[in-house]
């Protein structure tokens, strides 16, 4: 009963037709391009900050004591709160980037910190005796940390997607998938909403799969 009523649940044909329509307009590609750029930027920013904080808190107990509550706070605060707070002072196009970074940071931070803390002291001592600092990092320290880092990095990429789309819906930048979804919702263009959702799922799966293949290749060396 619901299928065929394009207002409530569009048919697969209608959805695919809408996908084609989206992909044949310049605005559609601009939205996709800018959303991807925001995801990649936010994700890389989050990973970089997460690793930096992990190095800091795993080496300095005072930093750990001071910053650990902040991590818990960031983890428990809803994405929407961050997006709405940021909207007050930040350009709408940047909000999704920062929100994605905020989502990725605690995940990468916690896993990397645990990996740093749990690395083998015996191997580190051996490396202190025999290896230069660079060789120690390359052959002893990183191989112990990277498998765990890669595993979380892969999961957090999916979270970055969700965060950027949600933040775009709330912040309404000029171009973006979230912006398009919000506009379509206002006009009750359900088939187009389904088309965007389908595109988001496909792109997210493709990106994560590509990332996993890269990680598997990188991780093979340490199996």
């Amino acid at each position: 009963m619901l299928v065929g009523n394009s207002l409530l649940l569009p048919s697969p044909c209608e959805t695919l037709q809408s996908v084609r329509d989206v992909l044949t307009t310049g605005r559609g590609w601009q939205a996709i391009g800018l959303t991807l750029l925001r995801i990649v930027s936010g994700y890389l920013l989050g990973c970089t900050l997460g690793v930096a904080l992990a190095v800091l808190t795993s080496h300095f107990e005072t930093a750990n004591w001071l910053l650990k509550p902040l991590r818990s706070l960031v983890k428990t605060t809803p994405i929407t709160s961050f997006a709405l707070i940021l909207l007050v002072s930040v350009v709408s196009g940047i909000v999704p980037v920062i929100v994605a970074a905020i989502v990725v940071v605690p995940m990468i931070w916690q896993t990397t910190e645990e990996a740093i803390r749990n690395r083998s002291i015996q191997l580190e001592e051996m490396a202190t005796v025999y290896l230069t600092p660079w060789k120690k990092l390359r052959y002893v320290t990183l191989p112990q940390i990277l498998p765990r880092f890669f595993s979380t990095a892969s999961v957090s990429l999916g979270f970055a997607w969700k965060a950027v789309i949600t933040a775009e819906i709330l912040s309404l930048p000029r171009f973006g998938i979230g912006r398009e979804m919000q506009s379509i919702k206002s006009y009750m263009e359900t088939s187009e909403l389904f088309a965007w959702t389908l595109l988001v799922i496909c792109m997210s799966v493709l990106m994560e799969s590509g990332f996993r293949i890269l990680l598997r290749k990188a991780g093979q060396r340490y199996d």
Binding site: Q122, L123, M126, V129, L131, K135, V140, R221, Y222, D223
Partner: protein, 183 residues
């Protein structure tokens, strides 16, 4: 001459070494023996700089290159035996030492796949590949059969100075030790 003067160290409640002093010759094989837990490994760790004593001084090691054979092989498991050894020296030396220790066939196997005794020999090869000036060895014969013990002993005797921690009295004979220090 390497001189250890008044070395003391405590771990929590336990006093491990108290004003320990001794002298090591510049050359030869020196055996360090004593009861379990008396501080033999701690002394080795102090000599290679991994542990700082609470008090005391060591002189004569400043200009010398020290390598260590730990009680556990401590190999990088995802690297091959040859890669583990050549990481600290050149490939030619690594191949020669692994061959001397009867590891030609296992050279290109990942360390993770080697047996305990093979890992121990790779660890010996790594130490001598890095330096044969001062070699500190903690129970170097553990897990080795008689044939490989002889090969290892032959290699240990090539060091300028080898300080060997052991609890086995027969090791002194096997190594033709020049000096025995009992803690």
């Amino acid at each position: 001459m390497i001189k250890l003067s008044d070395i003391s160290i405590r771990f929590g409640e336990k006093q491990v070494l108290t004003n320990f002093s001794t002298q090591l010759p510049d050359r030869g094989v020196v055996l360090l023996s004593g009861e379990s837990g008396i501080g033999k490994t701690t002394l080795l760790r102090i000599l290679c700089g991994l542990t700082q004593p609470d008090s005391g001084t060591i002189t004569g090691l400043e200009t010398r290159k020290v390598s260590v054979v730990f009680q556990e092989p401590r190999l990088i498991e995802h690297l091959t035996a040859l890669e583990n050894v050549s990481l600290v020296s050149d490939r030619k030396t690594a191949v020669r030492l692994l061959t001397d220790l009867n590891l030609e066939k296992e050279m290109n196997q990942r360390a993770a796949k080697l047996s305990g005794g093979q890992k121990q020999r790779v660890s010996l090869a790594r130490a001598f590949s890095f330096s044969d000036d001062v070699v500190l060895l903690d129970e170097p014969f553990s897990g080795l059969d008689d044939q490989n013990k002889l090969r290892a002993a032959r290699l240990i005797r090539t060091a300028q100075l080898a300080l060997v921690v052991t609890h086995d009295a027969t090791d002194a004979e096997l190594l033709s030790a020049d000096k025995i220090i009992t803690l």
